[in-house]
Subunit: 308 residues, 2 copies
């Protein structure tokens, strides 16, 4: 899956009882990612509860300040690299000479061999749907122009196995809520599961990881808890991943762009159910639906809290 | 509630069987807001389904292009005005001389008596959590400095009545999903219910409506389907509304800012349950919990799909 041996090492180290395919998965026990706070519940009784942290982090590309993102802060280097890639400020063939993170200053600097200047680009930002990143939209649309996503297959048996594994993986979401999750998968195996207060941060962290580890996208599947908007579709296409799955719904523009780019777009994937609105030809229906469980009430509740 | 008689007129016209307190509520039958698309379901059968539209709309303040937002496009004038207010580019005492919407060009121009120039501000944007709007964060923080939210009361009987009414109101969400909702309420009465693909757009549309109708915020309650992040808290404080309720969770920074501003912050409000993490002293526990129904499976499902 990657030419880098260090990945194989991490792979072995992260093997656990509940699933053995993760290279990176959430660490809900990391004390830096949640905070205990006191309050009251509906009966007026004092309670303690966990809430997700949210930190400002500023991304520089060489000498230029690009953006300040609000993040849980667990993978600053991947976030910075992936953000710049998905904004087309870092190019796939760029040579990254260093990524320096200063925790105290909350700053990440990505350095490239190529000289960069995105002053003009920074001036004009577009707020994309819902969870905007101030993306330069014209550029994102360009990304779709010359793209052709590879042939690939999605077996429905993989889809059901994947969503079941993802739903039962311990996560910050289950610990504190108010967070989004994205998963990079191959066949029925989740490989990298990132969470963040910004769903686009979670995508960008995966993009940054793929760049660093030189992971090829053609045989991968991308899963998100977030909606299938134009921006999510564009990011997935830009990453070169041919299949995008979500437990959430679609926007009309998301569907239109996915059809244009020949991306397989599956939404409302819960329990037995899903809807495919683009690239349906990649789907192979090999799963006996009678053997698929509906989501348990625990997962329904989980989904119910997963609402932003 | 407002000094403007026209509001009373609308109030009367929008009276319906399911609830009589709405001045503005979603119109899921509006053919401009959803699109029918074809696809396949988990059995491979062809299906037709509704998806939410998502349109680019560019906001100008006088001669200056400020931002392009992705929106369902139902209240462009309120969205533009509210966005500029919440960005502190339009000031509460500004005289708005006109708001012109050109549907074909997808442009809204807000004109003020005061000359404006926000070139410098536009240069430096901060991506706030999750659903960022590229907000100028320093300015938003300033808004919290000299704020003092008024005394107010939230009866738990209002809270349960409100959430029940909101959950049973026909909405685009129920029709097509992938959308956020915000409600401005007074006591147990929902007044204005806005939906949008961007949750911040929904907030901004309410802010724009309040500005236009000169609605006072002190005795209002703000409800959102979205998470209680720093940005949501800051927007609510800026709008001067002392009580913020969400069915979703909290971030640590959202809690911290709410405490600083003395905002009553209630999250995870579902069925009988809720958690208050700031401004608890405004809550009056007058509801007999035995009489409150848990959310029906229909509402659980509703919540479950409301996930972005």
């Amino acid at each position: 899956m990657t030419s880098d041996n260090s990945v194989e090492m991490i792979y072995i180290h992260s093997m656990t009882a509940f699933d053995d395919s993760y290279i990176i998965r959430p660490n809900p026990q990391d004390p830096r990612l949640t905070e205990r706070v006191s309050g009251i519940d509906q009966t007026g009784q004092k309670i303690d509860t966990s809430v997700t942290v949210e930190r400002a982090m500023t991304i520089f590309l060489n000498g230029q300040e690009i953006v300040t993102a609000m993040t849980i802060g667990d993978y600053p280097e991947y976030l910075a690299t992936g953000y710049l890639l998905n904004q087309h400020m870092l190019l796939p063939n760029d040579v990254v000479t260093g990524v320096d993170y200063d925790e105290e200053l909350a700053v990440v600097v990505v350095r490239t061999k190529r000289k960069t200047n995105y002053e003009k680009k920074l001036k004009k930002k577009v707020q994309t749907s819902g969870c905007a990143q101030g993306t330069v939209f014209g550029d994102l649309m360009e990304a779709l122009e010359n793209v052709s996503l590879p042939k690939a297959t999605l077996r429905t048996s993989w889809l059901y196995a994947l969503t079941h594994k993802i739903n039962t993986t311990p996560s910050l979401y289950l610990e504190a809520g108010a967070i989004h999750g994205c998963v990079l998968a191959q066949e029925d195996r989740p490989l990298v599961y990132m969470e963040d207060v910004g769903r686009h941060n979670a995508v960008d962290k995966i993009a940054g990881w793929m760049f660093k580890e030189r992971v090829k996208p053609e045989d991968k599947i991308f899963y998100t808890t977030g909606r299938l908007t134009s921006e999510m579709v564009i990011k997935c296409v830009r990453m070169g991943i041919p299949i995008l799955i979500s437990r959430s719904g679609f926007t009309a523009w998301g569907v239109e762009l996915a059809r244009k780019a020949n991306l397989t777009l599956i939404g409302r994937a819960r329990g037995k159910r899903f809807v495919a609105l683009a690239g349906e030809d990649r789907i192979v229906f090999d799963q006996d639906l009678a053997a698929v469980e509906e989501e348990s009430s625990k997962h329904r509740r989980k989904a119910a809290m997963h609402d932003d």
